[in-house]
């Protein structure tokens, strides 16, 4: 009786055959349609877009039924087992025409919080300014990683035939890790620390994570949530007291704009094929709008920005009036992005387009 399992015995028998010069080699002729592929690297190197041509560019509307991890375009033998875990098999559920481009862009535009931020230029700031920066960083740490959790939740369900999307979402998870990391570092690096978490943020983030399907989650997160955060990053750069925060926000802004670009193009692709799902998207945006408006009114969210916008706690009211402008900008850009995606949201909006600060103050 062999001391090995049957699987090991089969392996040993195969090795014996090879040792005698009996090789199989049938894999060498397994994929004639995919062989002889020609690629031309571009001026910047070899991008995903440069290799996904011809045979390899054929993305099926319905992802492979074998349900394995076999890469798109290879030969799949009949005995390759399906894993039964890829439940998102329709291209329209995940696809965006810019997914490969954004993946290429993400991998060459990565940065790191260890060496790309001029930490040595941190300066001691007035107490109110440091507290405002630290509270803003606390809020961003809280919000940032949901944008990693959400794609991570869906990534393992996406059919491998849509690898451009999977790869892009993987870069987004890394981007969000970096954002959490850099805002935590900033809060802890200048004599301050983390301040207060936010119930309002938790409510909005839960809506994203609990969305019933990927596309509604994406509309809520990529377009709505990240669109608003993108404006906050722009505002962060604008208000930054030192070159350190300036650099952080500029680098984060770039990442966030990629995520928004994917979300817009995905929703466009989806709605062109499923116009009957428009109402479902509107409904999730109703929830998002309500949640963000509640969030906007929370002191730990609005006051630190108002302090920075006013230049100090003594000018917090002036800062709040300036914040009203930011809100209007966020809403305008949100509506314009949805317009690109083919969704006329303005008549359905559940929150005001502008905050009448002067009126409210009076």
């Amino acid at each position: 009786m062999s001391k090995y399992t049957p699987a090991v015995e089969i392996g040993l028998n195969r090795m014996r055959e090879m040792a005698r010069g009996n090789f199989d080699l049938h894999w060498m002729e397994s994929n004639p349609d995919g062989w002889g592929h020609q690629v031309t690297p571009g001026a910047t190197g070899l991008r995903l877009r440069d290799v996904e041509t011809g045979h390899y560019a054929q993305v099926p509307e319905h992802g492979s039924s074998h349900g394995s991890m076999a890469p798109r375009g290879c030969a799949v033998p009949d005995d390759v087992p399906g894993l039964g875990m890829y439940t998102m098999n329709e291209m329209s559920e995940v696809w965006a025409e810019n997914a490969a481009l954004l993946y290429d862009e993400a991998v060459v535009r990565q940065w790191n919080s260890v060496t790309d931020v001029p930490w040595h230029k941190l300066q001691q700031l007035p107490d109110d300014i440091e507290k405002a920066v630290c509270q803003m960083c606390t809020g961003l740490c809280e919000v940032e990683f949901v944008a990693g959790d959400m794609p991570a939740k869906w990534l393992c369900r996406i059919n491998h035939d849509f690898h451009e999307v999977k790869l892009f979402l993987a870069t987004q998870i890394m981007d969000e890790a970096r954002h959490l990391d850099v805002f935590r570092k900033r809060a802890l690096a200048n004599g301050g620390g983390l301040l207060m978490a936010s119930a309002g943020q938790e409510e909005l983030l839960a809506t994203i994570l609990e969305a019933p399907d990927y596309t509604t989650a994406s509309a809520l997160m990529h377009i709505f949530g990240e669109g608003f955060v993108l404006t906050l990053f722009r505002q962060g750069e604008f208000l930054a007291p030192t070159e350190v925060e300036k650099t952080i926000f500029r680098l984060c802004m770039q990442d966030e704009a990629r995520h928004v670009a994917y979300g817009v193009k995905h929703l466009k692709y989806f709605l062109e094929r499923h116009p009957d799902r428009t109402e479902q998207i509107h409904k999730i945006l109703d929830l998002g709008e309500q949640a963000i408006f509640t969030l906007t009114l929370e002191p730990q969210t609005s006051e630190p920005r108002a302090i920075l916008a006013g230049g100090g706690i003594q000018n917090i009211e002036l800062g709040l009036s300036r914040m009203a402008f930011i809100y209007g900008k966020q809403v305008k850009e949100y509506l314009r992005r949805l317009e690109v995606a083919g969704l006329d949201r303005e008549p359905r909006m559940t929150i005001p387009k502008e905050i009448p600060w002067e009126e409210l103050a009076a």
Binding site: T44, E105, E237, Q254, E256, R336
Partner: protein, 148 residues
Amino acid sequence: MTRHTGAFPSTGWFKALARRMQENEASYRALGSIECTMIVKVEAPGENDLHEIAFEGFGVKSIRRLDRIEDAAPDHFVLEATIDTWREMIDNIRAHGGADLEHTLNYLTFPDDPMRVEGPDQLEIDTFYRYNESLQRFFDGAAQVTPT
């Protein structure tokens, strides 16, 4: 370091920035490649000046002066400001070797005053945000361009 010359606004001035970018390619590689078309609109009394700068990879693919915005590549964003605003930004860059905290492109455009970013749609405007660090470095190249 090579110094370049050019008068703002002119195709020559933007070509001088493009040459700076070429000489400094390693630093742009560190930021990552860039693919977008930027229109610089300089508003002056009686006449607006339009310059189209197309970026590809780690450099500038083409620069041309436009007679009207309709002649621009379909995918683009526009940075627009008065000539005084542009000159103040460039003077600041020259004085500090790069934009100070209150003269970065984002700082100037975020409140829509004194500079604005526009485009045919929001996604095109968003490319300005996507490549912001590279675009800032491109304009910071003005520190090495001597006005003529």
